[in-house]
């Protein structure tokens, strides 16, 4: 469990700034903040003063004052109108900076599923964490394979929903090497709050090296080990344990070559073909006692990768 990465502190209100838009967003945040403090202190201050100054006392009656004053009322409607007009305009301008990616941005595909993220790099490699070079614009193409999720990196001030059936776009340019948390911000069920990944911002030159190393794992590792990596990076781990405890799906421990009872009462032996079928058409033969909630991996895992996962499950005696 390396979910709970300590995040370096920002200031009292905001997390650290680690992208090009952070400073702009924070400036506006503090502008609205101090404006709010000013008006709040004004309102409550006047209220407290009146409570004290005009408290009910024997012999003192409420004085007659005019019941309305159009000029005064237009003034205190007009000044807030001008101020919110400015806030709106500045907010929209910054929003457009946050929305329109530079033309040279590299694209990474982001897919949300219950309850993990997967990131597909330009060379086709898929990882559970987002790795990016520092000072480079990254465009994210977000989607979801089940319900709505929302990609959120507080340190980058970036948030965008991953909606099934459509693509959403977001972009950022990280300014500080380091590790940042990626949260799911749109409620998505049981493990919504555990759907956390890392964004690793690599110092100059190291991203390319990392990508090359990581992409080669199928040829470098023994199949069972590669299968284990796929198990942790591709979302199997969120529902299937390897220590026998039941999760949202059956545990993989000791499952291979053993019969399991399906929901309809029939039995099936967990062999290579059943595992393969369950990955590609997961809701066809659901083990009894579990719900049909697994998304299909058809088109998302190559044959080689499915083979590696089968080897990994075989190894879990």
């Amino acid at each position: 469990m390396n979910y709970w990465l300590a995040q370096t502190q920002g200031d009292f209100w905001l997390p650290p700034q680690a992208s090009t838009v952070s400073a702009e967003v924070d400036w506006l945040f503090y502008f609205i903040y101090w404006l709010s403090v000013f008006f709040f202190v004004l309102i409550v201050g006047v209220m407290m003063y009146f409570i004290f100054r005009y408290r009910r006392q024997p012999g003192r009656r409420a004085e007659h004052t005019s019941h309305h004053n159009t000029l005064l009322e237009l003034t205190w409607s007009g000044i807030p109108l001008l101020l919110v007009g400015f806030i709106f305009y500045t907010g929209f301008k910054s929003f457009m900076h946050m929305t329109v990616a530079p033309a040279d941005a590299a694209e990474i595909k982001v897919e949300g599923q219950k309850w993990s993220w997967s990131f597909t790099y330009p060379n086709g490699y898929v990882d559970k964490d987002l790795h990016v070079p520092v000072d480079a614009s990254i465009r994210l193409l977000l989607s979801s394979s089940d319900v709505i999720h929302s990609f959120y990196v507080p340190a980058f001030r970036v948030k965008k929903d991953a909606v099934p059936g459509r693509y959403n776009k977001a972009w950022f340019r990280a300014t500080q090497p380091g590790e940042y948390l990626i949260f799911c911000a749109e409620y998505c069920g049981t493990q919504h709050s555990d759907m956390i990944s890392k964004c690793v911002v690599h110092p100059p030159g190291e991203y390319e090296k990392w990508l090359q190393d990581a992409s080669d794992f199928l040829s470098k590792m023994p199949p069972a080990e590669a299968g284990e990596k796929l198990y942790t990076t591709r979302g199997c781990r969120q529902c299937h344990s390897v220590d026998g405890t039941a999760g949202q799906g059956p545990s993989f421990k000791g499952i291979f070559d053993h019969p399991v009872a399906l929901a309809d009462g029939s039995q099936v032996v967990v062999d290579e073909n059943y595992i393969r079928e369950s990955i590609l058409e997961p809701n066809k033969k659901v083990v009894g006692g579990y719900q049909a909630i697994m998304p299909t991996y058809k088109g998302r895992l190559k044959d080689e990768e499915i083979g590696a996962i089968i080897e990994y499950i075989k190894s879990l005696k």
Binding site: Y3, W4, A6, Q7, L14, P15, V21, E24, V25, L28, F29, Y33, I43, M47, Y54, R55, R56, R60, R61, A62, E63, T65, H67, H68, L72, E73, W76, P80, V84, I87, F88, T90, G91, F92, K93, S94, F95, M96, T99, D146, V147, S150, Y152, P154, R157, K160, D161, V163, P164, G165, R166, F183, C184, A185, Y187, G189, T190, H192, S193, I293
Partner: protein, 556 residues
């Protein structure tokens, strides 16, 4: 009221022997009553029971967050409990709270009418509320809903919980709300006595009128939306789920087209209550009557045009985002106008800090924060960071809890009128202070963790947020104690409380011209209508502990 008129100066007969409570007795006389006051009381009792339930769910949520991992419940239970907290508080407590309980009781009396325009529809609306409540709560036994009160698709159409029961409960509750709104609109149009012109109506009635417009026009959209959701879930007809060819963001548009105006169903009546309280307890004519009245209507209309600000991160177009952001700011102006007018009303007044006024002043403080933090969320660039974090949770609790503060203030203000009994001022103020303090500790803390990036609806949270969550929970417990104190002294007052005078606060709207509790038919003769914010016709009488009409021609 026997035979006399009700303008200041007339004798106030003692109707303790015959009032709406004693008019008829027996359970049947309540169950089948057409009296708006009894229906209001039945609503009040039901809503208080629902509030107790919603409060228990809130305490469970906060207790769970005492530690970053599992404290007292599993993740699935937590998801069900926060859903229930939201759904119960919104659909069963805050939306009907002030209009259906307080409004039903006082609207006809304040107007000078004997009842609402359609008393049978009024009773029907109460029973729909009961049926809707039972359906919504039945979902707990039938597989508890875990979608959040927003029912976002496709989660809600694919989760294996009792969503259909909950949404159909909301559907029935919607009709209850529509009927109440319809009744109020017709009553205000048709049953005003001679002299009660639009601009002589108490501002609470303007607020209820504006609320009723929203109830009537927005609630049907919620009804249609939840039916579409239920149809998709039951029969797999593709409307919102992309697997079936639907569009999940369409649901958000439909949902917020009702649920954003619903925020104004919740806050407008509260603002109306505050306008009454500030004026009465400052003994001062309300300042800027027409601006306050028109601002209620302006909020009701503008409130229909801003729903898309809940969806800035959903992928709707930048043009739509820009328009919704701009329109959102337009709502802030009428709200600001009200606050400034309340302060101007207090200027040179004679301000007494009785319990209802303590709640009114708390409301200005709390709504001030709730309103101003809305600026951060209406602004596109900052909303992207803050959306779906605890900052939003804190913001809407400052607004919605403001409504609860106004509701409790209204309850204390009209309690003597409804029950004929006075409660303990001492304990009233203590409880108000506890609730105010607890509320601010609970939710101000949530602003800070939210702006640091703590997402909402999280069962587990990272260690960094532990101390914020613990402080927030302590605040929730303080609030809980405050509400328990309120329950104790109000219950005590029913049996041991001092008999309430007709006019304990010196108000001048028509309900204070009736005895406490009011007689069955409110007014024996059509009342004479004056300026309800002119308090010069009343003087304090220490013997009865309330205000009596100043003898005609007496010195002020």
């Amino acid at each position: 009221m026997s035979t006399t008129g009700v303008h200041p100066g007339s004798a106030l007969p003692d109707s303790r022997e015959s009032n709406y409570l004693t008019h008829k007795s027996g359970l049947g006389s309540w169950m089948m009553t057409l009296d708006h006051k009894r229906i209001g009381v039945m609503y009040l009792i039901s809503i208080l029971v629902a509030f107790l339930l919603g409060g228990i769910f809130a305490m469970l949520v906060r207790t769970e967050h005492l530690t970053p991992k599992e404290t007292i419940m599993s993740a699935d239970t937590y998801n069900q409990v926060f859903t229930l907290h939201g759904a119960v508080m919104i659909f069963l407590v805050i939306i009907p709270g002030i209009p259906a309980a307080m409004g039903n009781f006082v609207l006809p009396i304040m107007l000078g009418a004997k009842d609402v325009a359609f008393p049978r529809l009024n009773l029907c609306s109460y029973y729909l509320y009961v049926v809707g409540t039972v359906m919504a709560l039945a979902s707990i036994a039938l597989g508890a809903v875990d979608t959040g009160w927003t029912f976002y698709t496709p989660y809600s159409t694919t989760t294996n919980t009792a969503v259909i029961w909950m949404v159909m409960g909301a559907f029935v509750l919607g009709f209850s709300s529509i009927f109440t709104g319809l009744n109020f609109i017709v009553t205000i149009h048709r049953l005003r006595p001679p002299g009660m012109t639009w601009f002589r109506m108490p501002l609470f009635l303007w607020a209820l009128y504006a609320t009723a417009i929203i109830q009537l026009l927005a609630t049907p959209v919620l009804g249609i939306t939840v039916v579409l959701l239920a149809v998709e879930k039951a029969f797999h007809i593709g409307i919102f789920d992309p697997q079936l060819g639907g569009d999940p963001v369409l649901f958000q548009h439909f949902f917020w087209f009702y649920s954003h105006p619903a925020v104004y169903i919740m806050i407008l009546p509260a603002m109306g209550v505050i306008s009454e309280l500030i004026s009465v307890f400052s003994h001062k004519h309300i300042f800027g009557y027409k601006f306050i009245a028109y601002s209620s209507v302006a909020i009701a209309i503008l409130g229909f045009l801003v729903w898309g600000h809940h969806m800035f991160t959903s992928g709707q177009s930048s043009l739509a985002n820009m328009i919704f952001s701009a329109l959102t700011f337009s709502v802030s102006i009428p709200s600001a106008i009200k606050v400034f007018n309340w302060l101007a009303t207090m200027f040179k007044g004679s301000i007494s800090l009785e319990t209802p006024m303590c709640y009114a002043l708390s409301f200005i403080f709390i709504f001030g924060i709730g309103g101003l933090t809305g600026l951060f969320l209406g602004t596109l660039a900052t909303d992207i960071h803050l959306h779906d974090t605890y900052f939003v949770v804190a913001h809407f609790h400052y607004v919605m809890f403001g409504t609860m503060i106004a509701f409790v203030g209204a309850l204390h203000y009209w309690w003597p009128k409804m029950t004929g009994r006075m409660y303990s001022e001492f304990w009233g103020r203590i409880a108000c202070a506890l609730i105010f303090l607890g509320m601010n500790i609970t939710f101000f803390t949530q602003f800070v963790m939210g702006s640091h990036g703590m997402p909402r609806r999280y069962f587990n949270y990272i260690e960094q947020f532990a101390s914020y969550h613990q402080l927030s929970t302590v605040g929730a417990f303080i609030q809980g104690i405050g509400f328990i104190v309120v329950a104790i002294y109000l219950a005590h007052s029913l049996f041991r409380g001092r008999r309430a005078p007709a006019n304990p606060w010196g108000g001048n709207s028509l309900e204070w011209h009736c005895s406490s509790p009011p007689p069955h038919d409110n007014f024996a003769v059509t009342p004479t209508v004056g300026d309800c914010y002119d308090y010069s016709g009343w003087q304090y009488d220490a013997q009865i502990g309330g205000y009596i009409p100043r003898p005609v021609g007496a010195e002020h």
